[in-house]
Amino acid sequence: MTLSDPKVYLSLLVFLPAVAALVLAILPRLADESYKWISLAVTIFVFVLTLGFFRSGGAVDFEAGVAQMQNLFNVDWIPSFGIQYFMALDGISFPLVVLTAFLSVLAMGASWPINKHVKGYCILFLLLETGMLGVFMALDFFLFYVFWEVMLLPMYFLIGVWGGPRREYAAIKFFLYTLVGSVLMLIAILMLYFNSDLTRLDAQQLAEAGIIKVAESANAENKFTDDAKAESALADWLKSDSPLAKRYAEITKEADPTQRKQLHTFNILALQQMGQHTDLFDGDALWGKSVQWWAFLLLFIGFVIKVPSVPLHTWLPDAHVEAPTPISMILAGILLKMGGYGIIRICYPICPDAGYDMAYFVCFIGVFSMVYGAFAALAQKDFKRLVAYSSVSHMGYVVLGMGVWSAVADTGFNPDYWKMGANGAMFQMIAHGISSAGMFFMVGVVYDRVHHRDLDKFGGLFAKMPVYSGLAVGIFFAGLGLPGLCGFIGEVFVVLSVWKYSYALAVISAAVVILTAGYILWAIQRVYLGAEYKGPHGEALTPITMRELSIGVPLLVLAIVFGVYPKALLDYMQPSVDMQIDRLAAWTEINHPGGSNKLGNENGQVADAWRQKINALQSSP
């Protein structure tokens, strides 16, 4: 039970805010400031804990360049349903966890102007942080769902109690939308659960799923010894007294496979293995579509509500407009990422066949969101609404980047472009987490002063608040996708990868850069430039305070760092994303060798030609 045990470390990381919330709840009445300080200290501590992963060589660390799950542990939770307390980090979740902890600190810092029911606010805020961290770390579907719901309720109250004038409407809208999503998700989870069967996985796959532990192999090349090791690990595991192992042994005792019972599981990694290596999810479910087709659709809708993509996005502008500034930061910075995270962690790897069928649909949703969000942003009069629609537009890149399934027969199963898209999407998630949180904060700073957000009633802020305006313009440019700032990398990676998949979508997605520049520059012009301030409370436009500065500056600095040296992030992220894409590409090669993608021809001749030519090119001096 030391911190060097990942079990303890990760649990501490996740549950510390919740425990702190509990402590706050039972603490006797304190001054409002003290609640804020305590919460801030807790969030900072959690952030420091996440930073602890960076020290290399420790027992609990996160190594860059490793694709597999790290710091993995699983403990039986509800063994009768195979539910485990199962967490780990990999390159997909780790940056999001760090981002969550980081933004929580900043958002707590941004919570200082909140003076209403501070105790309740802090408690809910901390609970929210637990939920968010848990979602990113959980690898058990049930656990994932629990955290997903845990995060939902505090958010509802945070919007509904501390929000603006239409807060009840916004909160209920947010709640209903998300609830619909999670109900669909739950249905899909149960579908997958009842179709899953652990006994169908071989030892190697079980090891991949984190169920059995294989000792580190000295030479990873040797597939044979790896297999043997996995087998022996499986045997060891069966001998152990874990309930799962016992049930596994009991079921596999039945020699006749048709009589065999199924060993259901909620293990996401195991479900991924089943989705990719077995036909468990291929059975008919409804209207001639397979189980995984429906599961994918339901999960995708559930996640896409969170992303959000058009047409399921209308909760976002309302929620953002009504939510208090720090909650907007969290909402845009982290909550939206859960959708993208779900798509890349759950939708595609578990239901590859459905993903392959619906790739165009997914991409189209992404592109449509990009365009639609940008157009809608252009029309907004409310500053915060504009930023909210920009989120819709920017998150479209994420959906698009994840969906560009270009590793098909027609391209010789070349996964590189898809990798680029997926990495770009992941990068965009982090970048958008930074830039949109920053943008919302910047709106909040000025809203705190003049209490309105009407774009036509601003102007001349540069003269009155020069430092603030400089920061704001920097962060808005990060959102615009200016090179050297974080937004650029994700967008350009995604956009460049699309052509390989569909040139029509590529052209449309490239066109969004114009619209994005349009609405952001226009907003900057209306708010920061100009000779004089045109709205009420002009006298309240005082220069930025140290507190606000210390929230804005880290965001801008990060935006610059990631924009200039994206490898700082990609080094951690890319191996995992690449591994996932490689697996899906390999899956495509096995399951769709002829290529049925409507973009290509049926017999794969082009692919052969492609390969021959590439080979010829490479062999020539």
Binding site: F375, A379, A463, G484, Y503, A531
Partner: protein
């Protein structure tokens, strides 16, 4: 010194010094001396350091290590002779004379990578050849001059408070604000950094990165007077219009990326000098193909894939005859035109030229540096850099765009009265010349004109700035006769005007810098037209353009400096600018005169930088009757002599016409204006481009955006609200029909039953201890009785 190791370091130093200056000024600019005056000096110091590094790179490393082409192309006569020897007729097929290819030294490498995905790699790297070094020198020298000049020009910003006479507040007063001296230099430094970044960039992606960065610098600098609405609007317009071009550039990049899989220009070599990764140039112009343009297999496959889903597509490969292999050509065209779109935006070519005149809202040094000499030339530079990848059809597009641009911009410049706008349109027009030249195969001519133009246009703008500084207006109708008040400005500007119209002794080697480059362009156009008679318009447009150029440039000069003052008040207050401003004028005037002279070997240097394989004449694959001639073919006397004479005579005619109208006043310009009123209106409204775009693009976009927002609020949300209302109605119905009767009835009955039971039981709860004991006893008895009954009757005994 080994150029392969020293050049990147030197140029990187030159590149990064302005960045350091920028960072320092951002962080500490406010504290640098009174009103941030030190920031200006820091910035100047930085750019001069860059200039020194660049010059060291040029004269200390490049020239000693790379023998300039000795065949004497730099010398006009020599060029003629050698060209005649080697290329017998302009129509000769290109494949036969690849022996004329010269050494093409270049160095490329990566500093670090932004992302690697399998074989795909996006990096920050460098690609250094003669063009890079030349551009570095040109940019850093001009930037140094402009920086120094700006120290004087922006002096007003050091005052506290600065009074902006163009902004009137709602209270009726002029705006008083703090000076922003340091802010200006901060942006200038950032701009220099970005511009160097474009020049040194080793791949298209990096070009794009810095492309955007110069765009944003331009945005900041145009909008420097943030309080002026016109300035911020112009800044937005500039950025957005260039973004439209970038959209095309992105498409081009995507097409390349998906098909070739690399952005790098040059080949990456390892320590032993072996090629590890091929760059775009060697992929598209493979060595075994004699450096002729040949789409790589990836591109052919990608094109097939693209059109596979489109059986009716016009480009099904089988439909074309055998000897012209069009495979991959369409994609190549898309890529080329796409990249060129970016250049169209940045270099303000038709149809995206509308932003540049508005960009003159920025301070004049900005106009000189950013919007004439360097940034807008970046588009031309990119076309030059990317030259090996343009197919002949793409080049034709470039040529036509350039041709249209040079003509439209020149015509608009005739009617403009704002001194800076005249220069801006002249810039657009000159950029059109360069594009035309590049599109017609005149690579060296185009790049040469880029460099000479940078000097003389920088000079012209600085002169105009000096004038504006003196009379506090841009409008030429308030000027006149200023040459007596400010002689240095007047005569350096005259030099600039002469340079831009290409003044020189025809058929000789003596002239101002513009003479060499402009004549080369016109020669190339004539050479092109001689092999492609169907494109004869490309032959006459530049000649006509030369006429108009001469006319409006001298109109400008006469209106400003000659004649009588038209505004006595302004004239009386006018004065020559301080030395910090006139010094740079003199330096630039020197370059404007002499940079084209053969002794400076600029032409030779560029000849050395000519991309490999682009000298040979090329046949179009899609347009089979299109031939891009070899540039050396333009030096044959049969083309050179008539072209030179035509250029000279049209320019002279333009000059004369301007003199007749504005100097000697033989024709009254107002009467002319009246008699050509429709034409004049058309031109002074800039061909109604702004209005057209407003109606065709801006308004519909806003309408669509409002539709989207409306759709959100009224359709999607309505659906939601309706759904919610239906749910509520349903639940109300259910509530009324079922809940309130059945469920509530049950519950209520239960509740009231419980209630009355409770009331009844309440009476038992007397609180009397003894009674409770009785209950216990009775309860026990009852229990026993019950159990025994149950046992007796219901539990079977065995």
């Amino acid at each position: 010194m080994d150029p392969a190791s020293t050049l990147p370091i030197l140029l990187m130093a030159a590149w990064l010094v302005p960045l350091a200056s920028f960072v320092l000024i951002v962080l500490f600019g406010k504290y640098m001396g009174p009103h941030g005056k030190g920031a200006g000096y820091l910035s100047v110091l930085a750019i001069i350091t860059s200039a020194i590094f660049s010059l060291i790179a040029m004269f200390g490393v490049w020239l000693p290590n790379h023998e300039l082409p000795t065949s004497g192309h730099g010398d006009h006569n020599g060029a003629v002779s050698s060209a005649t020897e080697e290329s017998h007729a302009p129509t000769e097929h290109a494949a036969e004379h690849h022996e004329t290819e010269h050494e093409y030294p270049n160095y490329s490498g990566d500093w670090y990578s932004l992302g690697e995905f399998g074989d795909l790699k996006i990096t920050i790297g460098y690609y250094i050849d003669a063009l890079t070094v030349a551009m570095f020198c040109m940019v850093s020298v001009i930037a140094s001059c402009v920086h120094i000049y700006a120290l004087g020009y922006m002096h007003d910003e050091l005052h506290e408070p600065y009074i902006d006479h163009e902004v009137t507040l709602s209270s009726g007063e002029h705006l008083h604000r703090k000076g922003r001296f340091y802010r200006f230099f901060q942006y200038l430094s950032l701009f220099c950094f970005s511009m160097f970044g474009i020049v040194i960039a080793g791949n298209v992606a990096m070009v794009f990165v810095f492309w955007e960065l110069v765009g944003i610098c331009s945005y900041f600098l145009i909008g420097f007077y943030i309080e002026r609405h016109s300035a911020s609007a112009a800044a937005n317009k500039a950025f957005l219009v260039t973004r439209v071009g970038d959209f095309g550039m992105l498409i081009g990049m995507m097409a390349l990326w998906a098909s070739v899989g690399t952005f790098a220009f040059g080949d990456m070599k390892n320590e032993q000098g072996e090629v590890t990764e091929k760059g775009l140039f060697s992929l598209l112009r493979p060595e075994e193909h004699h450096h002729h343009l040949a789409p790589p297999p990836g591109m052919i496959a990608e094109e097939e894939r693209m059109f596979a889903g489109d059986p009716d597509g016009e480009s099904v490969p089988a439909a074309v005859e055998e000897e012209h292999n069009t495979a991959g050509q369409w994609l190549l065209l898309i890529a080329g035109v796409g990249i060129f779109c970016g250049c169209v935006g940045k270099s303000a070519q038709f149809p995206l030229h509308v932003w540049l005149p508005d960009a003159m809202e920025g301070p004049t040094p900005v106009s000189a540096l950013v919007h004439s000499a360097t940034m807008v030339a970046a588009g031309v530079y990119l076309v030059g850099r990317f030259y090996p990848c343009f197919s002949p059809e793409a080049l034709l597009v470039i040529a036509y765009v350039g041709c249209i641009t040079l003509f439209i911009a020149a015509t608009i410049a005739i009617t403009a009265t704002d001194i800076k706008r005249v220069l801006a349109y002249s810039t657009v027009s000159q950029l059109g010349y360069m594009m035309l030249s590049l599109g017609l195969g005149g690579w060296v001519a185009g790049m040469f004109h880029l460099i000479t133009h940078a000097f003389f246009k920088g000079l012209l703008f600085l002169c105009s700035g000096s004038v504006i500084h003196a009379v506090h207006t841009n409008d030429m109708t308030y000027m006149g006769g200023l040459r007596k008040k400010m002689p240095i400005t007047a005569y350096t500007m005259l030099i600039g005007c002469l340079a831009i119209i290409g003044a020189g002794f025809p058929l000789s080697v003596y002239g101002l810098s513009g003479y060499y480059s402009k004549d080369a362009i016109i020669e190339q156009a004539w050479s092109f037209a001689s092999v492609n008679p169907q494109h004869a318009i490309l032959k006459w447009a530049p000649v006509g353009g030369a006429f108009i150029t001469a006319f409006y440039m001298f109109r400008l000069w006469y209106l400003t400096f000659a004649g009588k003052p038209r505004d006595e008040h302004r004239y009386d207050h006018a004065h020559e600018s301080p030395r910090v401003m006139t010094g740079p004028l003199l330096v630039l005037a020197f370059f404007a005169i002499g940079i084209g002279w053969p002794i400076f070997h600029v032409n030779d240097l560029l000849e050395q930088g000519r991309p490999v394989g682009t000298l040979a004449s090329t046949q179009g694959e899609l347009l089979t009757n299109l031939t891009i001639p070899s540039e050396h073919d333009s030096h044959v006397p049969i083309i050179k002599q008539p072209a030179g004479i035509a250029a000279f005579s049209t320019a002279l005619a333009g000059l004369l016409l301007a003199s007749i109208i504005y100097l000697w006043r033989l024709l009254n310009p107002d009467e002319l204006k009246e008699s050509f009123k429709p034409l004049w209106g058309f031109l002074s409204n800039k061909w109604f481009f702004d209005e057209l775009y407003d109606y065709v693009f801006v308004k519909p976009t806003l309408v669509v955006s409002h539709c989207a927002a409306w759709f959100d609020r009224n359709i999607i949300d309505s659906i939601l609200h309706t759904a919610a209302a239906i749910c509520r109605a349903c639940s109300a119905v259910v509530d009324a029909l079922f809940d309130q009767t059945v469920v509530d009835g049950t519950v209520n009955t239960f509740a009231s039953g419980t209630w009355s039971l409770g009331l009844w039981l309440r009476r038992i709860q007397t609180g009397n201890l003894r009674q409770y004991v009785m209950f216990i006893v009775i309860g026990t008895v009852a229990l026993f009785v019950t159990i025994s009954i149950v046992q007796a009757y219901y539990i079977p005994t065995n």
